[in-house]
């Protein structure tokens, strides 16, 4: 009896399933030839792509205004500054955002810069932003902070990067809300304060030991990371800019193994590399007062030291800006 009921139930389920998708079994009976299928699929994809491009055009901001479609819109504020007013752009993740204060640098050497870094900015985004600044400014130097060279540089980053470039709808799709509300051209946030630098004053000391000790381990840049770095270098060369790699002070994430790998890549590719973590660099970071979170990010006191140090080095090595003023 149980078997009968089971069979009955199964038959009913099968009927129901077939009612909704009669193709499931025997769906290949009318299958077209492979070539025919491929041609039709390509045709469909072409029309679909055309429609997505039209939608992309609708949702992409016409002016480089800050909109809800952008994650951390302050990283794009270089588009709002006077054209050709920037000498230097910073890209990278929160390590860069909290370490380099353009206002300090300008005060020190008169170099006009913008910090386009943001928390969790991926290397692909850094490259894209650096590349984009050339559409607005004759940037002389691109400073790529190195922390994000070692984070999330896998296939997902590549996919997101391709998606953003090939179909801007994927990036700006959320602007449908602004369009629906008639606010597409509004700028609800305005220009970011401190030229993109994230100013924090509080102090949480780093209490660990010497993080730059050689532990004998090795770290390598992924092939994907190297591909994007080569791309960035090429873009800088094409636009007459200099690429500079900088490792900001970071006691919790940086290591000697990273220094070795970055120095290797920089040497191989003829790129200038500054590592503020090396004791020999003499940046003067005092981890008991210069960090805001126990060693990962600098506070304003630490950022002032790092920014002044970098301004001095850029003047000394590239002649960018004026003779550094004395520290106040």
């Amino acid at each position: 009896m149980i078997e009968e009921k089971k069979n009955r139930d199964m038959a009913t389920d099968a009927q129901n399933a077939d009612g909704q998708q009669p193709s499931a079994k025997g769906g290949n009976s009318n299958a077209p030839s492979l070539l025919h299928g491929i041609v039709r699929s390509l045709g469909f994809m072409a029309v679909l792509y055309a429609v997505l491009l039209v939608l992309s055009a609708v949702v992409t901001p016409r002016n480089p205004v800050v909109t809800l479609g952008l994650h951390f819109p302050s990283q794009f504020d270089y588009t709002q500054l006077d054209r050709n007013s920037l000498d230097l752009i910073f890209v990278g993740d929160s390590s860069a955002q909290s370490s380099f204060a353009p206002e300090i640098i300008e005060e020190r050497t008169g170099v006009h810069s913008y910090n386009s870094a943001r928390p969790l900015q991926k290397l692909a985004e850094s490259v894209e932003i650096a590349d984009d600044t050339f559409n607005y400014h004759h940037t002389k130097i691109v400073v790529a902070e190195t922390n994000n060279f070692f984070h999330r540089t896998g296939i997902r980053m590549v996919m997101q990067d391709i998606g953003r470039r090939v179909c801007p709808l994927l990036r700006y799709h959320n602007n449908w809300k602004l369009i629906a509300g008639g606010h597409m051209n509004d700028n609800p946030i305005g220009l970011a304060p401190h030229m993109g630098y994230k100013k924090k004053n509080h102090v949480v000391p780093y209490k660990g030991g010497d993080y730059m000790k050689d532990k004998g381990n090795k770290i390598s840049l992924t092939p994907i990371a190297e591909y994007y770095l080569n791309d960035l270098k090429k873009s800088c060369e094409e636009h007459g800019a200099i690429l500079v790699l900088v490792s900001a002070p970071n006691a919790r994430e940086f290591s000697f193994a990273r220094h070795v790998e970055l120095a290797r890549w920089a040497k191989k590719n003829g790129v200038k590399y500054y590592d503020m973590n090396m004791p020999s660099s003499k940046v003067g970071i005092d981890w008991s007062v210069d960090s805001r979170d126990g060693g990962t990010h600098l506070n304003f006191a630490g950022a002032t030291k790092a920014s002044n140090w970098l301004a001095d080095r850029l003047y000394a090595d590239f002649g960018i800006g004026n003779q550094p003023t004395k520290e106040k």
């Binding site: 129901n16 399933a17 009612g19 998708q21 193709s23 290949n28 299928g37």
Partner: protein
């Protein structure tokens, strides 16, 4: 990578699935199952890493149990050279049956034991510590759960019991069992597979072309719309109200529970659609898991249409065995002797129904609220059975047609209301929270946040809600069509290319434009992936 949140889905649909499909396509037919097996283990490894040992252990136990049951069945040979007497046959069968049952029981206990220790160990420990007021730490609390353990364990147990029952022969190929348990589209949220339905398809190496390929892709897009346009847009709002539930009362609590019901349906059925669509691309048809559940006229019917593979599994491996057990037979005998009327019919089913609904609740998680969730439905079913004679008398006396339009409509609304209450219990953080929320429905109208739009934060604007409701209406329209046996996809296929392409493109554009994904959106894990 997983099928549970937009970040994982992007990687799954953008890289993993196309690569698997291409590999599956170019490899000779007889080796295609190996491609699926490799892909499934890679998928599992990606989310669970070393916990793959549990999957391997379950696979070996399942495979070994099947072979040992077969061996036990053939362990006593018929006498050679003469006909076996009836007594000899009876004795032989009794012994082999006993051995088969022993193997089946051990195999099932090992499989369920792993599940119980990993999924319920911490909860059980907590209960003991609470009972005996012991001051102890919970070593099991830190054990991580491998991906899909509840789903693949049920498939494994089903296989072992089916082999024991002689429904089909034991499978000798370890690879087939491994693929059956690990098949990547079903790992995250099922549907729970049956070996005799799934294994032949997995080994067949068929590939979808033409309309079947289109159906597979359509299912994936439709599932994505349900997940990222409907479920993920509602999720923050539902979460906000359930988290701060003490701030709300009356209509707001009802709205939150109703929206959660929509979210769960869109989320779960969406992910299952993506799984079914992915399988369809490899020429594999997975079992249907939903059949317009919100058109049910009773909670019993609801559970025959909602998470159908779980309901089917519990029916075959819990309800029937308990119904045929000695305890139920004794209860039935007792009822016939001591009771009268409707009670004689109801009492013997109590044990089996209690077992099924307790299992339904507990399957969802190690928490008292899940047990209460199952018992809530048990209570509803029992009340329904008790009131049935009254309903019959009512319809006879009034002459109202029970299956008439009006009564059917009332029954549907009543069922939806009961399901929404159940969902409130399901979603509430604790049983006490549920009780508080349920009481607060009657505490006042609670319309103030609704009127003043205070409940819509920046993250969940009215635009979000409107798009989710449009998506919900689209889902309802599709469900209505299916309920009236209108098969939309074949219907579409019969029309010209222009219309078909227009619908396909519109759906993809709708999904990509209005989906809750990308910068600024949290990846919201699918609800059933936690189970």
């Amino acid at each position: 990578m997983s099928l549970t949140a937009w970040k994982g889905l992007a990687l799954y649909l953008g890289a993993f699935l196309p690569l698997v499909y291409i590999a599956y396509f170019i490899v000779p037919k007889r080796w295609r199952w190996i491609v699926l097996l490799g892909a499934s283990y890679a998928f599992f490894w990606n989310s669970s890493k070393i916990l793959v040992v549990y999957l391997i252990a379950a696979t070996l136990v399942t495979w070994g149990s099947g072979l040992l049951i077969e061996r036990a069945k053939n362990s006593i040979q018929k006498p050679e050279g003469r006909k076996e007497t009836r007594d000899e046959r009876k004795q032989r069968r009794a012994i082999t049956q006993k051995r088969m049952r022993l193997v089946c029981t051990i195999g099932t206990l090992i499989l369920l034991g792993i599940l119980v220790v990993l999924k319920y160990g911490s909860f059980i420990q907590g209960v003991f510590i609470e009972l005996f007021k012991a001051d102890a730490k919970l070593p099991l609390a830190k054990i991580a759960l491998p991906l899909g353990i509840s789903f693949y364990t049920m498939s494994a147990v089903g296989y072992v019991i089916d082999v024991y029952r002689g429904k089909y022969a034991a499978c000798h190929n370890l690879g087939t069992i491994a693929l059956f348990l690990s098949f990547f589209p079903t790992l995250t949220e099922g549907p729970i597979g049956r070996f005799d339905e799934l294994a032949p398809q997995l080994r067949a190496g068929e590939i979808a072309r033409g309309e079947r390929l289109v159906y597979g892709l359509q299912l994936i897009v439709w599932g994505m719309i349900k997940k990222i346009v409907i479920a993920d847009r509602i999720a923050p709002l539902v979460g906000m109200i359930f988290t701060d539930h003490t701030k709300y009362e009356g209509v707001m609590v009802i709205i939150a529970a109703a929206l959660y019901t929509l979210q769960l349906y869109a989320d779960f059925s969406g992910v299952v659609d993506i799984a079914r669509g992915s399988s369809e691309l490899c020429g594999i048809t997975l079992a249907q898991n939903f059949r317009q559940p919100f058109f049910s006229k009773s909670v019993n019917e609801f559970w025959r249409r909602w998470h159908m593979t779980l309901g089917g599994w519990l029916r075959d491996y819990v309800f029937y065995p308990v119904s045929l057990s000695g305890a139920t037979r004794s209860l039935s005998t007792w009822a016939r002797k001591h009771l009268k009327g409707n009670a004689v019919r109801i009492v013997p089913t109590i044990l089996a129904l209690l077992a099924v609904w307790s299992a339904t609740g507990i399957w969802h998680g190690a928490d008292w609220k899940y047990l209460a969730y199952g018992l809530y439905y048990f209570a509803l079913v029992m009340v329904g059975m008790l009131l049935e004679p009254l309903f019959v008398a009512f319809f006879e006396r009034t002459g109202i047609k029970r299956d008439g339009l009006l009564n059917s409509g009332i029954a549907m609304v009543r069922t939806i209301a009961l399901v929404i209450i159940g969902m409130m219990l399901f979603r509430a953080d604790t049983l006490a929270d549920f009780v508080q929320m349920f009481k607060s429905i009657f505490a006042g109208p609670g319309t103030e946040p609704l009127v003043n739009n205070l409940w819509l934060s920046f993250r969940v604007s009215d635009a979000d809600l409107n798009i989710a409701l449009i998506g919900g209406a689209l889902m309802l329209a599709v469900d209505i069509a299916h309920e009236f046996d209108i098969a939309l996809r074949p219907l579409l296929l019969r029309h010209g290319t222009a219309l078909r392409w227009a619908v396909g493109i519109a759906l993809v554009a709708f999904m990509l434009t209005f989906g809750a994904y990308g910068p600024g959106y949290d990846a919201i894990p699918s609800i059933y992936a936690n189970f």
